[in-house]
Each structure stands twice: as structure tokens, then as C-alpha cells.
């Protein structure tokens, strides 16, 4: 699904809700945070004009992005069948020519109650892995509300270079 299409649809759906609708139309923050599943972090930086680099974003945005990063890391590392299946797939396939990329950018929309409303990411070249990734990253509550003025989505970079 093209991002523009999704954003338009999302804006229409919540367009009457004032600030919240504006929040979705005014995207987004590139928090330049690496979601390092393994040890080596990969710093990401938005390049489009719609992105606000982490270096100029308010610290409260950065802190919230760090919290989301930590939550995603812990959910991916969880000891449950879905997370294990995804990790196994990434361990075996990441970096191969026809497999998932070693680094992907994940965009996350967080609701005011801390739940994850939506996740968008490039395909992992496997339908089951894509579904598992969606399931894992939307399964919990990050624990805090995003700053009300914070632009979304939050952009995070994942290093998928899991060690076997």
C-alpha cells in the first residue's frame, strides 16, 4: 500500500477529530534511532522534507522514541512462538539476495493511550514473516502517551542482522 494513500485514508477517518487528525497529516519525525536487534546500531536519518530530524526535535520526542525503540526490541526478543518464528526466519534469511534486507525502516503510529495503532515497513519477502512482524510490533502498550504535539509516524531503523 502506498504511504500517501494510507495517510489520506487515515486522515479522512479521523479528520474530524481536531488535533489528532492534524497529527496524522503532519508527518513525520525521523528520530534517527537504530532499533538494533543485535549489537551494532544503525543510525537512520530521514531525508525527505516532511521529516524532522532528531537533532532538532524536542527532547520529549526523543525520549518517547527511545521508549518505543526499547519496547519494540523487547517484544521482538520475547520468548513466545511468534517472536521465535520471526527471529528464526531472520537468522536464516536476512541478508540473502532473495531474503529480507539487513536494515529496514519501520514507521510507527502510536495512539494517545500508548497502544500501537499502525506499523508500516517494507516487506520481509515472506508473508508469514510480514504478518509476524506486524503482530509483534502491535501487540503491546509502550507505556506512555506520545507527546501531544509530536509528529507521527516515528521512524525507526531496524538492524535485522540477528546472530545465529
Amino acid at each position: 500500500m502506498r504511504p500517501d494513500h494510507w495517510l489520506s485514508r487515515c486522515a479522512e477517518r479521523i479528520g474530524s477529530s481536531g488535533d489528532r487528525g492534524r497529527r496524522f497529516r503532519e508527518f513525520g519525525l525521523s528520530c534517527a534511532i537504530a532499533l538494533a536487534i543485535v549489537s551494532s546500531p544503525v543510525l537512520g536519518q530521514g531525508t525527505g522534507s516532511d521529516y524532522l530530524p532528531a537533532s532538532v526535535a524536542p527532547p520529549s520526542w526523543g525520549q518517547f522514541s527511545k521508549l518505543v525503540k526499547y519496547r519494540f526490541e523487547s517484544w521482538i526478543a520475547a520468548n513466545d512462538p511468534v517472536a521465535k518464528r520471526l527471529r528464526t526466519y531472520l537468522q536464516n534469511e536476512a541478508g540473502r539476495g532473495d531474503g529480507p534486507p539487513r536494515v529496514i525502516r519501520v514507521r510507527a503510529w502510536i495512539n494517545p493511550d500508548g497502544t500501537v495503532e499502525r506499523i508500516a515497513f517494507p516487506t520481509l519477502d515472506n508473508a508469514q514473516a510480514d504478518a509476524d512482524f506486524q503482530t509483534i510490533l502491535k501487540r503491546g502498550n509502550v507505556g506512555e502517551a506520545p507527546p501531544p504535539e509530536m509528529l507521527q509516524p516515528i521512524n525507526l531503523r531496524f538492524s535485522l542482522n540477528l546472530k545465529k
Binding site: 520529549s60 525520549q63 521508549l67 526499547y70 507505556g143 506512555e144 502517551a145 507527546p147 501531544p148 504535539e149
Partner: protein
């Protein structure tokens, strides 16, 4: 049992004694207890002493992450003289190692194998002023505060004496709050809860005393005077993000 520990003021004398007793089990507290409370109620009862069933002697407090490497700060009296220290947060329990105990303040540095939360941010130079609203709570009590929608502040700075290393706070916190972070309006850690004073205030080790201790132990902290949370963001939620329960098993 929890209701006994909460609140103070116009309470029967024995409840006041319990509140005063609840923070420390160390020698400093012992001296205080003799002078202000009934000698017939030893503090160990409130310190969750020997379990009558299992025989396990333990004490509990709060700790919080100071970096992303699993390093945590707590009160010294929570983790000294322990056979085993366990950090628990959101259903995860990890064994902790006591890295350092401060000789100058009621501070201890412990380490768990991996972080379980967000790292605290300390003020670079901003200091709290008298009557500033702050947030402080035992980790075990945060779930109740969060379930009720969160909280901006629940305590007031009574005295911030630069140079003394102590921050005096008017707060209802009781047992389990030792080692908890004192968060200012910007969610910076302005202190670490230590004990209740004879004046029925909470004494916290101030950030200007915390930072040299962490630096001496090679911990690189984040310092920033800018607000780390939105103006109406719940400090209770932030406290939950950075802190955890810590239990010291003594036998």
C-alpha cells in the same frame, strides 16, 4: 497491610512510627528510631524481615536505569548486606550485581544483564526550588497510579540546600520507595529517595551528589535541562518507564 504504610499526619502514634520506620534498616535509621519511636516495634517488621513461612529475610526498594547497559541506581541501604539482589519489572526478574556502594551518600550502583526500561535523564544545571512540585513513588505503587490515569506530581520540595547533597521533600511515600527517583516537572531525576527524617520529611540524595558517584564508577549519564516530557505528560508513567523493583535477599 499496604494501608498501614500510606499516609501520615493525624494518625495514631503507632502508625506514625510505622511510617517513620519504613525506609531504612541501616544504622542511621536505627539511631533515629530509638529517639523518636517506640522501642517495642522494631523496624525489621516493616522491612519485611524474616518470612515466617520460608525463613527468607529480605528488604525491598526501587531502582532506576541510568543508562542503556543495565546499570541502575538505588539507595545503599536497600542492597547492602545481601546474598542475592533481584530486579523485577513487568513480569521479568533478573539477578543484579552490586557494582558499588557509596561511602558518602545513601547510594548504590547495581547492574542487570540487560536494560528493562528507559534510561533516566539528569539535569545539567537546573536545581529544584522550594515549593517545586515533584513526583516520587515506590515502583510497586506506580501501577495503581497509572491505572487511575497517571499523575503529574505528588510531592513538594521543602528544602533544596545546594551543597548539602540532600533534597527534603514533603511526600507520603513509605516502604518500598527507597531508591526511587525524584522527578521534577521536566522528568529529570533531581534526587534519589533515602529515608524519612525526624521532621517527617523525605530525604533524597540530590542529583549533584548522584552525578559524581556515577562518574566515579564509569557511568555516562544523559544530562539535559530541557523538558524530557510534555507539559501534561504523566510523570508516574515516566517513573514506571525508568524504574523497577529491587529485592535484597539476605539469607
Amino acid at each position: 497491610m499496604d494501608s498501614i504504610y500510606h499516609g501520615h499526619g493525624r494518625k495514631p502514634w503507632w502508625i506514625a512510627s510505622l511510617v517513620v520506620c519504613c525506609f531504612c534498616v541501616g544504622p542511621a535509621y536505627a539511631r533515629h528510631r530509638v529517639s523518636t519511636t517506640s522501642p517495642h516495634r522494631p523496624s525489621r517488621v516493616l522491612a519485611r524481615g524474616t518470612d515466617p513461612v520460608t525463613g527468607v529475610q529480605q528488604k525491598s526498594g526501587t531502582a532506576f536505569f541510568v543508562d542503556d547497559m543495565g546499570d541502575m541506581l538505588t539507595a545503599r541501604h536497600v542492597v547492602d548486606d545481601c546474598r542475592n539482589v533481584v530486579v523485577t519489572k513487568e513480569g521479568v526478574a533478573l539477578n543484579a550485581r552490586v557494582v558499588a556502594l557509596s561511602n558518602q551518600a545513601d547510594l548504590a550502583l547495581i547492574k542487570v544483564p540487560k536494560t528493562l526500561g528507559l534510561a533516566a535523564v539528569f539535569p545539567r544545571s537546573a536545581e529544584p526550588s522550594t515549593n517545586d512540585m515533584v513526583f516520587v513513588a515506590a515502583y510497586d505503587n506506580l501501577s495503581n497510579l497509572i491505572a487511575s490515569g497517571g499523575l503529574l506530581a505528588d510531592a513538594t520540595v521543602v528544602k533544596s540546600d545546594v551543597g548539602s547533597g540532600i533534597l527534603a521533600i514533603d511526600s507520603d511515600v513509605t516502604f518500598g520507595a527507597s531508591g526511587a527517583p525524584v522527578l521534577d516537572s521536566g522528568a529529570h531525576v533531581q534526587g534519589v529517595v533515602s529515608r524519612r527524617t525526624p521532621e517527617n520529611q523525605v530525604a533524597a540524595v540530590s542529583a549533584d551528589s548522584v552525578k559524581p558517584f556515577l562518574a566515579a564508577n564509569g557511568i555516562e549519564i544523559e544530562e539535559d535541562d530541557r523538558p524530557q516530557i510534555s507539559a501534561l505528560g504523566s510523570r508516574a508513567h515516566r517513573a514506571a518507564s525508568i524504574s523497577a523493583a529491587v529485592t535484597c535477599f539476605q539469607n
